[in-house]
């Protein structure tokens, strides 16, 4: 086989311009695909990380119907203390869950004593919220970032609200909330920090201590609107989602309907559609690569067979078995694919390295100066390389088959 590859290599070198051109096409295709995967993959991973690590968590557990009405933050669809305890038990009993954080969500009127506007709030356990959303503290653009996210009597407000209401860190503000019975309750808070707003659900919410939220809503028991859940390994999202749905499915209401529901970040964020679009584009780009390799390799191999008909006749006449002739031409396609893959991979890695050195930034929604840090996994490189090599061999198959089936007499007479 080594000798077949050696001869194949020399045949490619014989038509060096054509070989070079085909290899360049394969290299361009490889570089295009790997760069696209690296850049969009980095963008996707970063954006998903922003959502899961600073707003949503990987999973959320709600009372049935809460998500459908989440724009209204319905107090009557909170989990009672009993249901919340059962969720805690299920989460603690799931080894794949790293941490979880209970939230009491509410809508309130926000006043700076001069103007009033509305605000969406999360009542949180600061320690659990910080553990579940490790990037949340990083969104604090004004105010102290050390210590707990919020203490009793403090509030984190979104940047847009701070600007609009001209509120600074340390200012006192008033929150007024309508309670479940229709009565109204108010409480003063000191602004502890200003949060960078991010696109998507929950990206412009404020944060107060859970006990303050409960006090503001005058809730007699420790109700929970949602549990944000962080997984040890985000790749297990689908499996843990199914597992929790199964474990929490036994909690049913009086009519036997499920009482609780579990959603992944993708169910809750519109960015999931953008991520799916990126995946679709990646597939499309891969198809283009396959087409480039297929057409260019097939073209060069068809030409190679056509130009070497007499040579094929000679090697067939002296007794070369048809399978060896087939192998000879397949080896040429294989070498083209391998050479293009090696050079394409090296150039792609160099380009990705260069992009990382350039520290390119971009904006997404309200977020500015997001650092583009393209990375490519060895699995992606291996998969693309395998596709290119396999397609190169497949593209050579028809010309190689034709060569191996050639009648030696006809081939020897070819002019």
């Amino acid at each position: 086989m080594l000798n077949v590859i050696k001869i194949a290599g020399r045949n490619l070198a014989r038509y060096h311009r054509r070989t070079l051109l085909t290899s360049i096409l394969i290299v361009i295709g490889m570089v295009g695909v790997l760069l696209f995967i690296a850049v969009t993959g980095s963008f996707k991973t970063m954006m998903i990380g922003q959502f899961t690590d600073s707003v949503l968590g990987h999973l959320e557990v709600h009372r049935k119907g809460y998500v459908a009405s989440i724009d209204n933050l319905p107090l009557n669809l909170n989990m009672g203390a009993g249901a919340a305890a059962r969720v805690r038990e299920a989460l603690d009993g799931t080894s794949e869950v790293a941490t979880w954080s209970p939230r009491l969500k509410l809508g309130a009127m926000f006043s700076n004593f001069t103007e009033t506007t509305s605000i969406r709030l999360n009542g949180i356990d600061p320690a659990k919220e910080a553990a579940t959303l490790p990037l949340l503290a990083g969104r604090i653009v004004e105010g102290a970032t050390g210590g707990p996210l919020v203490d009793r009597g403090q509030i984190l407000i979104p940047q847009l609200l701070a600007r609009g209401m001209k509120v600074k860190v340390g200012d006192t503000v008033v929150l007024v909330a309508t309670n479940r019975d229709g009565s109204v309750n108010g409480k003063t808070f000191v602004v502890k920090g200003v949060l960078e707003s991010i696109t998507g659900p929950g990206g412009r919410d404020g944060y107060v201590h859970y006990d303050d939220a409960r006090e503001l809503l005058r809730l007699p028991e420790a109700e929970v609107s949602e549990f944000a859940v962080r997984l040890k390994n985000p790749d297990q999202l689908a499996r843990v989602n199914g597992l929790l749905k199964e474990r929490l499915g036994s909690n049913r209401g009086p009519q036997g309907a499920p009482l609780l529901e579990v959603h992944t970040w993708a169910d809750l964020s519109p960015f999931a559609n953008l991520a799916r679009m990126i995946d679709l584009m990646t597939v499309f780009i891969k198809v283009v690569l396959v087409a480039i390799v297929l057409i260019s390799v097939m073209n060069v191999m068809v030409m190679a067979v056509y130009e070497r008909i007499r040579e094929i006749g000679t090697i067939a006449a002296i007794g070369t078995p048809p399978r060896r002739i087939l192998a000879l031409f397949l080896a040429e396609g294989l070498l083209l694919g391998v050479a293009g893959t090696i050079v394409g991979t090296l150039l792609s890695l160099a380009a990705i390295y260069a992009l990382n050195l350039m520290h390119l930034t971009f904006s997404f929604g309200q977020q500015q100066d997001l650092l583009l840090a393209p990375v490519i996994g060895s699995g992606d490189v291996a998969a693309i390389a395998a596709v290119v090599i396999v397609v190169s061999v497949l593209a050579s198959l028809q010309p190689a088959w034709k060569a191996s089936r050639m009648d030696p007499i006809v081939a020897l007479r070819h002019v």
Binding site: N3, V4, I7, R10, N11, A13, R14, R310, E311, G313, T314, I315, A316, A317, I318, G319, T320, P321, P322, R324, P408, I409, L412
Partner: protein, 232 residues
């Protein structure tokens, strides 16, 4: 048993709806170790006969046995295997593989056809390079060799696999007279040295005279046989 034995051998080709006879029922025998030529004008059927003897083509009727094998019984793969094991070819245009050196061209059938071990291969190639007087040109590619040198390498390649029969279709047609004689002389020496039978076609009367047995073909028939059939 003769090396090649033809009885009532005929071959015709279909050109459109017309059947064109190329060989019209010939009988002949070629003995092992002989030096044979088929001569005749263009279109007399020399190449067709050589193609059939070389298992590159099948007879339309009659029988043709090469080394006792009825070549009509061989399928495409079987014919390729048979050629690889028993028959060597020398072509008018030399037909060396341009990307390989002289050494590698001789080595080619040993690798691709018979799969010899490297040491044995090297020994055989060096022996043949020496035998055809090309040991000092081993590293050159065909485009660096003269016509005569190319044909010497082609003869060595034909002999590489210990073929019992070498078929040469107009091996001297593209060579000047002096070189042509040298090639015929070389082929004779190889026959003497390796015991291989050589069958070649030519339309050159002077070259024809070098053969020990000559079959004169005319219009698809053997008009005349000259010389003694040597028995091995």
């Amino acid at each position: 048993m003769s090396l090649v034995e033809a009885t009532g051998l005929a071959k015709s080709y279909r050109v459109g709806s017309v059947e064109v006879p190329a060989i019209k029922g010939v009988d002949f025998a070629i003995e092992a170790g002989s030096f044979v030529s088929f001569v005749g004008p263009s279109g007399s059927g020399k190449s067709t006969l050589l193609n059939m003897i070389g298992c590159l083509d099948h007879p339309s009727s009659g029988t043709l046995k090469v080394l006792g094998t009825d070549i009509a019984s061989l399928d495409r793969r079987g014919a390729a295997r048979f050629r690889g094991e028993h028959i060597g070819f020398v072509f008018q245009d030399f037909n060396l593989i341009p990307v390989l050196t002289a050494y590698e061209n001789i080595e080619y059938p040993l690798i691709m056809v018979q799969g010899w071990a490297p040491d044995k291969r090297r020994q055989r190639v060096l022996q043949l390079l020496d035998a055809v007087g090309m040991a000092d040109q081993a590293g050159k590619r065909p485009d660096q060799l003269s016509g005569g040198q190319k044909q010497r390498i082609a003869v060595a390649r034909a002999l590489a696999t210990n073929a019992q029969l070498v078929l040469a279709d107009e091996p001297t047609a593209n060579l000047d007279h002096e070189t042509a004689y040298r090639i015929i002389d070389l082929m004779k020496k190889m026959r003497d040295g390796f015991g291989t039978s050589f069958v070649f076609s030519t339309h050159d009367p002077k070259i024809m005279a070098e053969a020990e047995v000559t079959f004169v073909l005319e219009d698809g028939r053997i008009r005349e046989q000259a010389g003694e059939v040597a028995h091995a």
